[in-house]
């Protein structure tokens, strides 16, 4: 079973259906007790960083989420759910993140106006080292991205895969069993479904 944190922001239907498609049983919840007990935990997020993290905190979900990560339970943050793993987000003001990973979430910035923002569409993810999350993917696999802010990790060891859009930024981050993907696996067709399958196969490693 996979527990999807439902904190009232965004539409979780696609993510839920993609997880069901690969055979997972989905439990959508904003109950701190259910989150603490999760075997696999997914934290989605769309829209602004501050709005997301504030809602997570307002519902008292920060500690439950951190407790799952601390005990090595498989965790997957998606899009802003990935960004929230970092120390701080700079979207519409400065907002403290969950602080699992050290770094900031900053806007795309270009001198060259040919780079349109949001970064929207299918782009290549380039793994930097082997990980069960990205097992079995073809070289130069593309995933669907849509975002105007990206993570900047202080510790490059946390960056599992990168993507290039004018410059290189983290597309997949990982520390232990805590993973985050900047793209939308639920919208990335076969590649995305494979990543979700891989995630569901990861077991606790305290």
């Amino acid at each position: 079973m996979v527990t999807v944190v439902d904190y009232g922001i965004g539409n979780l239907r696609s993510l839920e259906k993609a997880l069901e498609h690969i055979g997972a049983t989905v439990h959508r919840t904003d109950s701190p007790n259910d989150i603490v007990k999760a075997t696999h935990l997914v934290l989605p997020g769309v829209g602004a960083f501050g709005a997301c993290i504030n809602e997570v905190r307002r519902r008292g979900l920060e500690q439950p989420i951190l407790s799952v990560i601390d005990r090595g339970g498989p965790f997957l943050g998606v899009c802003v759910g990935m960004q929230m793993l970092f120390t701080v987000g700079l979207e519409r003001g400065e907002h403290a993140g969950l602080g699992v990973l050290s770094g900031r979430v900053i806007p795309f910035a270009y001198q060259d106006s040919s780079y349109k923002v949001p970064h929207m569409g299918w782009n290549v993810i380039s793994p930097r080292f082997a990980s069960p999350l990205l097992a079995g993917l073809a070289q130069a696999s593309r995933c669907y991205f849509v975002h105007s802010f990206h993570a900047e990790a202080s510790d490059s060891g946390d960056v599992l895969a990168t993507t290039e859009y004018g410059y290189v930024f983290p597309a997949v981050v990982a520390r232990g069993n805590a993973f985050g993907v900047q793209f939308h696996p639920e919208k990335s067709q076969r590649v995305g479904l494979r990543i979700l399958e891989n995630f569901m196969r990861i077991q606790d490693s305290p």
Binding site: G47, A48, V117, P118, G121, N123, R142, Q189
Partner: protein, 254 residues
């Protein structure tokens, strides 16, 4: 190794049935939006657009079911447009599983709708569709209501306003070219590219693979919306991608 340019088939849906979609293929039910969506997904479409052309308000609820069934099984981005007039309409469509919603006449009638939509749901799901026709003075005038009503507004100005109000993407249709198969309006696309910092989806006029190539290479479009050239099986999406790839345009291979 760069962001891929996108090919987006558009299906016109009336009362839950595809009325402008894939023609003469071996589909069990060619009028079924889900079946057509599956077909295009398998062929390598990068996104899908459903345009609801249902005339009466009472029957619009049917589209929600169409979107639900499609989004439950097709794992590529789905944009839905047509008849969305208020935040509640948009919310319902997003909750049904649309990833983006496209607004046109309603945004011109009430530009604040873009702002409020972007605040409520995020810019990433706000597509503003703009239909323009070139006037004698050489400006691109905006039309609404499926191209029936001229507004007197300059399309380039409106595009900039839509961006400033929080649109994440623009879907721009040249009414002069739409249905002609004479190619996209490349000067319109270039003019938009110069003024805007958000991605543009080009629409109206695709008749050949050269037209798609020109929209990307000359018009600098980020995506092309195409209907008849794929619906009539003139080309498959795979053939289009192979052709574009040979011309140095980055495509997603599937």
């Amino acid at each position: 190794m760069a962001l891929a340019k996108r090919i987006i088939p558009c299906l016109d849906v009336d009362c839950g049935r595809v009325v402008k979609g894939i023609n003469f293929v071996d589909l069990v039910d060619a009028g079924d939006p889900l079946e057509q969506a599956h077909y295009y997904d398998e062929e390598g479409a990068d996104e899908l657009v459903f345009l609801d052309i249902t005339a009466t308000h009472e029957e619009r609820g049917i589209m929600l079911d169409v979107v639900r069934h499609t989004a439950d099984q097709i794992f590529i981005p789905l944009t839905v447009g047509g008849g969305l007039r208020c935040l509640e309409d948009m919310r319902r469509m997003l909750q049904a599983g649309a990833d983006k919603i496209s607004i046109n006449s309603a945004a011109l009638h009430d530009p604040e709708l873009i702002t409020r939509g972007a605040e409520a749901f995020g810019s990433q799901c706000m597509v503003v569709a703009i239909d323009v026709k070139c006037t004698e003075k050489g400006i691109w005038e905006v039309y609404t209501h499926g191209g029936r009503r001229p507004t007197g507004r300059d399309g380039l100005d409106w595009a900039v306003e839509a961006q400033e109000r929080g649109a994440g993407e623009l879907l721009v249709t040249s009414m002069d070219r739409d249905g002609t198969q004479d190619g996209y309006d490349l000067s319109l696309l270039s003019a938009l590219d110069e003024r805007l910092t958000i991605p543009i989806i080009a629409s109206g006029g695709a008749g050949s693979l050269d037209d798609l190539r020109d929209a990307f290479l000359i018009g600098k479009a980020h995506a092309v919306l195409a209907a008849s050239i794929f619906h009539f099986r003139k080309y498959t999406i795979g053939e289009a991608k192979a052709f574009l790839g040979r011309h140095g345009i980055t495509m997603r291979e599937t």
